[in-house]
Symmetry: D2
Subunit: 354 residues, 4 copies
């Protein structure tokens, strides 16, 4: 009754589905019963020890569920309502949030790098039967009856991030946009570019099945970088350079190729998580005189963001379920991690249901 | 009569004031008789062979003068009018110009890195008695009677560039801004930050006289990087990071320190010209998750830009003559180059008068 | 040989297809042989005497054709190339153009209301066999071989205007947008809203066939204002108000309803041409405290704008030929005007071919 | 002990300083002991019955004070700290707030016109000894020791509103800006224009002492509309129209003159509160074809906004105490209202101290 099943990080390459205490809601908080979640590339980094979290932490940051308990002061909601919560949970009331940069939320202080990313990072996460949601007033997005849990679970992180990469770049009607890497986030960036009116969308990857999915998601052209010089091909297709290049992998190679694909005055929109050093090839950067912009985007969160993304799905503009290739119950989540980590069997996203 | 004196690049470390043919104006062009010009750091790069131009080229790109001849089709001007011409001369009619990125002007083609920089780069420049101005309709800015040549000659490049660094960063009322390097462009960036409403302006340099000038230009705080850890001091003064950091030197060190000075979500505005590799310290970049923006700006040009900058001077908001430390006639320009290159005698900008 | 057929305005309700001299190209100009054009609502206003032009003027402002002659100084083009020219022909070199507001082009002066609209207004227009194009370097947009004349002729004005209404409003992914009136421009505004990522697009009109076309163009909901209270329905569909309301008719009624449909902080984007007084219902305006924005947009022109719009068509995002309901040869253009003025036979746009 | 003195609205033209219960702080709330407040033009509207509030309400919305009590969940503050609270108190967590339009805060619902204005409107206000602050986490701005209460009390409303008018207009370096009416808000708009880099600031009023103050606040030119045709003079001074016109009175006359002062493509920024009908003179509006923008701004609030405004004062950019012309203790506030309403004795702002 007061316990639940949850995916607990015990140490590098050691996660287990444990029985742990169920959370309860303090003032301003809510508890939701998880009905759908998924595994993210960032979770893999955590499990592999590439991104450090404390042992004992429940991981996962993409929650869909039903309100189980509402803490004092949370208004406008009822127990039993279906809700989507973003991967990032801004407080709405700190300096960063009030400055419109809520992903860098620094509740209680000013502004903190990645401060809005709490689930499965600094507090218990979503790969569990129940989830404690902080700042619930700002973060519970109601799901309309016509929309299923599966349709919205990918909005919490990958759609919000991918679209965010398109939005931060300021894509305009008629833009030429190239997206490097067509994993889940890159595919969502491709969708985002289409939603914003880009008319030459070029998807680059080395995996034909991902390029095929990119076409279905709206790419006008696809490039398999194993088969040609991707930069040269983009320069040719765009007649001198893309307006926007979106980096969706997190490597020096893709970052650099993005910059080389740009026209002078173009924008590199970076979504990847980098490790090691990151170099700007200065000649591709016109030695600093090319009026280039390099923007990076951490997944936008909060209930208004989620409301808008739900609208995108509800309007039929985007069907995220196309990206769900596999399903596992929470009890078997370790198998899910193995499959996701192996990239076998054409896996894109895995649906986890408690 | 048909000849003039001009500063000609003959080869590395070899410039001479030669007698050369005077230019004449073709359709859409104008010839101006130069009354004031100056030497720019970029000119030094050229003379030293660090930026290649063709031998035989007249160098210099900061022209103030009097209209001597108007080519066919140039309307609204009269011979004898005093004009300022920007260092960058956009055509106004190519793809880049019509997209609002006229510094990357690609007249006759699409868009070309630095394409708008022609004077002393791809066509003859301003360190001469006469100058041929291309796309004159878009580039001749009339100087009001109340304003002297000396007051506006620094607008052509350094003020336009420095202010541009503040503008590209999107400085807002109440921002904290740090500017690394207080040479002429950095000083103008300091002025630009003040003009846009920054309320904590921090100037960094290693030269006390430049820091003193920074104070006079509007810096609220100055930091001599030789005497303390500049990044640590900026983080302390700003309570966690500047909203904007402006790089005005063009080195890995200043670029990197700029990034380290930023709050999450902050903007690095780059004005420097880089050589060699340029690295993003990924941990200061929050591994790509800090919502940082890195923007670079090439000097904005065109007569409307110059008109606005003249207004800034005319309104008394900014007195560029404070930056003029030395004067030479054109005949002695080589001495000017030597002094400017040596950084001796507190030199900031040198006025050249034919 | 030196004459041509052209639609000449002789006086109110008196246009005739006359034989007139063929234009020749001066410096910076071009002559194109018209292959397709159309009739605009503004042309009707002219013919009816509601918008004054000088007798003797050739009317029409939506030209597609083949380059017949290039004036001195126009580079990068060849005689025989197919081109689209926008209804608005900015010079690219005046204060307004250099400020990014080229529709208000004031060549030779500063900035002039509607100064960029020249064809069929201040100079001879496009309903003729040949057309003189001013500022050709800035205004000739090449048409790719794969795209037909008919596919692009509606881009010159109605698509550029309609999309412009969506762009000026700053539509974002997930916005709710209502468009009042679904004539050709309103339909293009509907397309523009879709292109920019609006996910609840509501089209309002009183004509069922236009509402049907609105659905085909991307409207999620349509409202026949004759059958219900349009404002009430929009408020209900949007849960409290649209983010953006686009006015595409030019009447007090539609303007006012737009404002009443907005959420606080929303944007009214006005495309209509108004006559008589225009009132802001102050209570719908929250007495000035609602953070509303009211923006108006004159058709953006210039070759870069046209290039982007051609890309929209070429990418298959938008098929303007769906709006072409009738065709007439130039010789029979008066019949076209009668039909277009009568709104009979489901007429939307009429293709005119010399 | 549990009571306090407060300015209570009893009915039209009937306010009294009554003894009422002292508030206590619930979860997320705070109580501050007021040390300084002021009377606003909006308060006059309330007293005169022009803006309806409920009898029994304590009025006033410009609070400076000391934290007396912190409700559950408010973190990062201590009792005894000096704070400024904005006139508008956004929750930070509703749809409007999360969309960056926090003045239209609709806590518990979506978005509500003027929803963020609570003090002295929908909840008890600041002209009292103690004040209950809702959403304290988002609204308590700490005051540095170096800054006095008197220096910041005008930031809560008039500076935030006046600067907001400049900000919403998007003023750029070199803009020409005209501000109609130089009451406290208009004067702050003048300051805002200066802070953002306008270089031709024209202040219009009919009161010479206010025009004199406008000059001290940064106006380059002042126009007494009683002595000349203000529109004609602005058109002459700006060479064809201002880039931005700020309306700071709330009448048809000033609104209309603002529009007539604009260049095509210019922006009218409206700060006034209008009653009765508001008309757009359509010919000054270029019949809808002038690319005009009309923006309205409700005072921005929240602690981050106040923090920035405090920085403006602390940096010496703006000295609001110049606008304080009179002082009254709370007990004599009725005399203050009489003086303020009469506009006698050169009154601009009145400091009230409990």
């Amino acid at each position: 009754m007061n316990t639940m099943q949850a995916t607990v990080f015990h140490g590098v390459n050691d996660i287990r589905v444990d029985t742990v205490p169920r959370p309860t809601a303090g003032p301003g908080e809510a508890v939701i019963r998880i009905t759908a979640t998924t595994i993210c590339g960032t979770d893999l980094h955590i499990v592999r020890g590439e991104y450090p979290v404390k042992p004992g932490l429940i991981i996962g940051h993409e929650p869909v569920g039903v309100i189980e308990e509402l803490g004092a002061g949370v208004t406008g909601y009822r127990v039993g309502e279906r809700v989507l919560v973003g991967a990032i949970t801004p407080c709405g009331q700190c300096r960063a949030c009030l400055s419109g940069q809520s992903s860098q939320c620094g509740h209680g202080s000013g502004c903190e790098a990645m401060g809005g990313w709490r689930f499965g990072n600094t507090i218990d996460g979503a790969q569990a039967e129940y989830l404690l949601v902080p700042f619930a007033q700002a973060n519970l997005a109601k799901i309309p009856d016509e929309v299923t849990d599966e349709q919205v679970v990918l909005l919490a992180d990958i759609a919000s991030t991918g679209f965010g990469g398109a939005e931060s770049a300021g894509i305009k009607i008629g833009d030429a946009v190239v997206i490097f890497a067509q994993g889940p986030i890159g595919l969502c960036a491709t969708v985002g570019a289409k939603l914003m009116g880009a008319t030459m969308i070029i998807a680059v990857d080395g995996d034909e099945s991902r390029l095929e999915m990119a076409r279905r998601m709206g790419a006008d052209e696809v490039i398999n970088y194993r088969e040609c010089d991707a930069v040269a091909k983009v320069l040719k297709l765009t007649g001198g350079g893309a307006d926007v290049a979106i980096e969706a992998l997190g490597t020096q190679g893709t970052f650099e190729q993005c910059l080389r694909c740009l026209r002078p005055g173009g924008t590199l929109s970076s979504l990847g998580v980098y490790s090691g050093k990151l170099e700007i090839p200065y000649e591709a950067y016109a030695a600093g005189l090319g009026d280039h912009r390099i923007v990076s985007t951490l997944c936008p969160g909060g209930k208004e963001r989620m409301r808008r993304l739900i609208n995108v799905v509800q309007s039929g503009r985007f069907d995220p379920t196309m990206l769900v290739t596999h399903r596992f119950p929470l009890a078997d989540i370790k198998q899910g991690y193995e499959l996701f980590g192996s990239r076998a069997d054409g896996v894109l996203k895995i649906l986890i249901t408690p």
